[in-house]
């Protein structure tokens, strides 16, 4: 079966941005810092990449603007996850978990996992 746009696997920046917004609404710079924390310092989004992701997620209805503030004469726009975005993130989490579990099982069966380790 062909996957539709919304069913296709998410790119990592998209997944991390949705994850950053899952708990609480955040503004752009806070999302960048949160993604860095979530990815254990592995992914540092640049502004161009972040706003390409935010624009696409807004267009797809996965996130929406929560509120706007002006701090030190600079605009801060807070984004939050929509119900559709939460469902899409949950689907992606399930998909990644299935794949990770499958990889884990095979590594264990092959005896390639370190003692007590999980892939």
């Amino acid at each position: 079966m062909l996957l539709g746009m919304t069913d296709s696997p998410m790119r990592e920046p998209t997944f991390l941005v949705l994850t950053a917004l899952a708990e609480t609404p955040q503004h752009g710079y806070a999302v960048i810092e949160d993604v860095l924390r979530i990815s254990d310092g592995q992914v540092r989004l640049r502004a161009g990449t972040l706003y390409a992701v935010l624009d696409r997620l807004r267009a797809d209805g996965l996130i929406e603007v929560d509120r706007e503030e002006v701090v030190q004469s600079r605009l801060r726009r807070y984004y939050r996850l929509t119900a559709l975005g939460a469902a899409r993130l949950a689907d992606e989490v399930a998909r990644l978990r299935r794949n990770a579990d499958a990889a884990n099982r095979r590594l264990r069966r092959a005896g390639l996992l370190p003692q007590g380790g999980t892939a």
């Binding site: 752009g28 710079y29 161009g48 706003y51």
Partner: protein, 355 residues
């Protein structure tokens, strides 16, 4: 001061984004970029600059691609497919007449020996494309047009190394065939082009295509001979021949009528379709003009004794000039669309001064 300098430079980089994106996100992105800057930083980092330029250009491409999904482009493609098939049918007819009744002033060794199977096939093929497109058999029309493209590649394109001037001379027809095949391949409701053109519009364009071929045929059939024994005077004007200058004037009047018919047909079209049609045809017009200049075509010396081979830059010009013309047309179309229409001015009658 350094923050102002940095902001100014970031704004310059953000200008690469389309205006819709800038309107929605520029201030916000600027806030993020400045919050992420080091103290005392005056220039964007190379990483940020590359990231913004790349993301901005991708956003521009997305916006551009989204524009092509507008129904007006689908309508323009349907009309273009039919009209280009009509032009190619007329061009094939012209070529047939040229072969059947050759130019009287051509010396016998270079005079064509009459139309061959390919000439008849061209006329029949483009007539079939035209009829299929008009009656709603879009896929049949597209398939036949692609067959025409393939035939050019096999029959003409293969001689590019031996006869580059001949190949380049036929490039506008190849470009038209490609345009017809491409536009007819795009999905459209049955008979959409006919509905958009209207019977009068289609009649006008058909007249405009057929009249020049008729003029050529009439000129050649009534032409004077190159026989020195023929003492009757004859007149020539840009390839038109006649026994009387009045007939030459009549030919020119018919060609003028064809030009008026084109204008009438264009005027009858919906403006949104009309301007897109012009943009779609503009690369072929640019290619034709380019080939008529010594810039891109193979240069032949004044006596026709030797030819100067095509340089890489000339080949590049043949590709780049039509491409740039098309892109310039898109930009102009976009500006035309973005220009706000002012509401009609309200006229108010000044009140007479109260005593």
């Amino acid at each position: 001061m350094s923050a102002d300098e940095l902001e100014r430079r970031y704004r310059r980089l953000l200008a690469v984004y389309p205006w819709e994106h800038r309107r929605a996100y520029e201030d916000e992105m600027l806030a993020v970029l400045l919050a992420d800057a080091r103290p005392g930083q005056t220039r964007p980092s190379v990483g940020d600059a590359v990231n913004l330029l790349g993301a901005g250009l991708r956003a521009r491409l997305r916006v551009g691609a989204r524009g092509f999904t507008e129904p007006a482009w689908a309508d323009a493609a349907a009309v273009t497919g039919v009209l280009v098939a009509l032009v190619l049918f007329a061009a094939a007819g012209w070529s047939l007449v040229d072969q059947a009744v050759p130019d009287p002033l051509l010396p016998p060794p270079v005079r064509p020996g009459g139309p061959d199977q390919v000439d008849w096939l061209r006329v029949g093929g483009w007539a079939a494309v035209l009829v299929a497109a008009l009656v709603g058999l879009r896929r049949v029309a597209a398939g036949l047009a692609w067959a025409g493209v393939a035939a050019w590649v096999v029959l003409v394109g293969s001689s590019v190394t031996g006869q580059p001037a001949y190949v380049i001379g036929t490039l506008p027809q190849f470009a038209l065939a490609l345009l017809a095949a491409g536009t007819l391949t795009l999905p459209a409701p049955p008979r959409r082009a006919l509905r958009l053109l209207g019977r009068r519009g289609l009649g006008a364009f058909t007249l405009a295509a057929v009249l020049p071929v008729g003029v050529l045929a009439a000129s050649r059939l009534g032409h004077p001979t190159a026989d020195p024994a023929d003492g009757n005077p004859w007149y020539s004007f840009h390839g038109l021949y006649a026994r009387s200058p009045l007939v030459i004037l009549l030919f020119l009047a018919v060609l003028g009528l064809a030009a008026v018919a084109v204008l009438f047909g264009l005027a009858a079209l919906d403006p949104r379709v009309r301007w897109r049609l012009v943009v779609l045809l503009s690369p072929v017009a640019a290619l034709t003009l380019l080939i008529d200049t010594p810039l891109a075509g193979e240069v032949v010396d004044a006596l026709g004794l030797y030819t100067i081979p095509l340089a890489v830059t000339r080949w590049a010009a043949l590709v780049l000039v039509p491409t740039m013309t098309f892109l310039a047309g898109l930009v102009l179309l976009r500006r035309r669309k973005a220009t706000p229409t002012l509401p009609p001015t309200q006229t108010t009658t000044p009140k007479p001064p109260t005593p």
